[in-house]
Amino acid sequence: MFGNPFQAKVVLRFILLLTTALLVGEHTMSQSRETALNLKWEWPGDRTPDYRILVRVDRLTRPDQGLFGWKKSPSLASALPDPIELTGTVIAGQQDWLGKTITLSLPKLELASAGEGDRVAMGVLIQNVCICIAKAPDPLPGDAERWLASWRCNAS
């Protein structure tokens, strides 16, 4: 296949480099998967949240829409109108989630004016489904936990 030993050496080095890069990438991804809590967005219907959390918005990104945008098809249950991917840190509420990173894909309309660096309150079901979200006032009127308890999950 490789008449020239130099060619064979170059190809071998390339393969080794590629394998290392893939292994490092996979390791990094699995680490982030371990720490991030992935929430799913649904509208509340007639449900009320099981718990409330206060989250600092660290990053807002546009999710991948697939080749030719096929993931946008409204016939897909997971398709959300004008979606945005929120990555944040839990700073109050559910005690065993404090300090954890959460990710949530949701309609941008529901996020309203909240941006990176802002704090948002979320109403969450025990199945890790977020059913309501609202930008928290800055500064919070008093203690964060007390404010969260009084926050009305104005679910549509």
Binding site: G45, W70, K72, S73, P74, S75, A77, S78, I131, S156
Partner: protein, 198 residues
């Protein structure tokens, strides 16, 4: 804006809803439309694809699933629409999200209306697979019309909600189209009141 109350609930009226179709003459893009149906009692029903392999035993179903093929099919009724697509059943939410639909109201026989409902009940119990191309929301809406003996052939061309709409419009004289923001309101007795604000 004028609001039209559609003739639901009834015994001999059913409907096709094309989401994203803003007027009878509008041709929405293939990935901008979705088909739902309205049963004679006014209840909305529709077929969707969700994550997870639709049928087991097929090799490579995971990779197909990530391209919109061999997904798990699911039938939404009013309660499921409320948590997954509230802008498809609530007029206020439809306005908030700027989601317009076109409803094709079709007069059929009482027996056909019952068969139409029977198809959706059976599909709900056993939804099978969803394929974005060829086995999607409009395919099942079309199958419901065929099962009820309302039309005899499948959708001409690609299985899209708009192609099904055009097929039904040309197949019947007793159809009326309404476009705008659509809302379903449960009635105290059985069924739903269906209204469109243009």
């Amino acid at each position: 804006m004028p609001t039209t109350l559609l003739p639901f609930p009834s015994e001999d009226t059913i409907g096709l809803v094309v989401r994203g179709k803003t007027s009878p003459s509008h041709d929405p893009g293939a990935l901008e439309q979705h088909a739902d149906c309205i049963l004679a009692d006014g209840s909305p029903v529709g077929f969707f694809g969700e994550a997870g392999a639709g049928s087991s035993g097929r090799s490579g179903s995971g990779s197909w699933n990530s391209t919109g093929m061999n997904m798990k099919g699911v039938v939404y009724d009013y309660p499921l629409f409320k948590i997954h697509r509230p802008f498809y059943v609530g007029m206020a939410e439809a306005k908030r999200y700027s989601v317009k639909s076109t409803v094709l109201v079709i007069t059929v026989s009482k027996a056909q209306a019952l068969l139409f409902k029977d198809y959706w009940n059976k599909l709900k119990a056993n939804p099978g697979s969803f394929y974005l191309l060829g086995h999607n929301c409009s395919t099942h809406a079309s199958d419901a019309f065929i099962y009820a003996g309302i039309i005899t052939g499948g959708i001409p061309g690609l299985d899209t909600p708009n192609n099904l709409y055009k097929q039904l419009v040309t197949s019947f004289t007793q159809t009326v189209s309404h476009s705008g923001f659509l809302g379903f309101t449960p009635k105290a007795a059985d069924g739903y009141e269906v209204a469109v604000e243009s």
